[in-house]
Symmetry: C2
Subunit: 164 residues, 2 copies
DNA sequence: TATTGTTATACTCTATAACTATA
DNA sequence: TATAGTTATAGAGTATAACAATA
């Protein structure tokens, strides 16, 4: 993720016209990379990865999710979800409880410690995000949010929460 | 990159409140992922990856770049740049010419075939990008572009083009 | 002594396939 | 027969370190 080359002390300012910067898609890509690096760095201070935060946030929604649900919601491979939940379970942030209606599935439950970790992570991530959006005023942030949401309409959440 | 789980035909619509969707940073992350997948798919039809397109576009700027310049500009590890340029040189899209003023460096030159490939790639990527932004009118697209640019002010291009 | 580009290597991440249990 | 979760394994992608050529 972090690109060591970006951190060079002897980095030179741009001196060329450059059409990638005029491409909205590339700006979106770069902005996402930069913010993600910021968020990863902020969360690393409390021992979490961004995807751990996403998983904890998803589980805080009140609807018990299975690993498949998480996979579909967050776009993570099911085998990746296993590793993430293994880790979060080891920290006692998440519990795997068998779904009594379908014993193949788990109901993944956020523990009290998990809720607390989520609060910490949310604070750290929000701080990074607020700094990233610092050039925009509140109205502009709302507008950016709304426009991003519209580009994604019908594409996310792609699919989640199996019917009971 | 592509998440097989997202493509499942039996995917269910969302039924839970979900706070990640209210986080601008996550929307930005997801939007970037979705668009990048679209662009990768569009470029695959002409045998290119997104980063190949980025490199070709960078080299079209008129200023001869070295591999280090590319690394800094695009945030790619220098060893990754070697592999990408090896590949593009093999297709005869790019030439490595020694920089006479500093024989450690290359001047990377776009060939005519490379320019043609770039035109094709630009067409394909623009088509994907236009479709992705289809929910926004022209003014909104310009606004989105400007706001993304402002969040990135001073952070990209981080550094590029060594002094002669 | 530092930098550009390269190679070899290691490491991380994700995907694939096979398996168990449950439906 | 299909699905949820798991494991083992393989593959891609990237980073680290060492090296050659040049400054």
């Amino acid at each position: 993720m972090a690109q060591a080359a970006d951190d060079r002390a002897d980095a030179q300012p741009l001196r060329s016209d450059f059409s990638l910067g005029e491409r909205t898609g590339y700006l979106l890509h770069k902005a996402s990379m930069v913010l993600e690096a910021d968020v990863e760095q902020a969360l690393a201070e409390i021992g979490l990865r961004a995807r751990d935060f996403f998983v904890l946030a998803a589980l805080a929604g009140g609807v018990p999710l299975s690993q498949q649900d998480l996979s579909r919601l967050l776009g993570l491979d099911p085998t990746t979800v296993v590793a993430v939940i293994d880790d979060l379970e080891g920290r006692e942030y998440v519990e795997r409880r068998r779904n009594p209606a379908d014993r193949r599935r788990y109901n993944l439950i956020l523990t009290d410690a998990g809720s607390e970790a989520l609060r910490e992570a949310d604070r750290a991530a929000t701080e990074a995000e607020t700094a990233f959006l610092g050039q925009l005023d509140d109205d502009e942030r709302a507008l950016l949010h709304a426009m991003l949401g519209r580009t994604m309409s019908g594409r996310w959440p792609a699919a989640v929460v199996s019917p009971d």
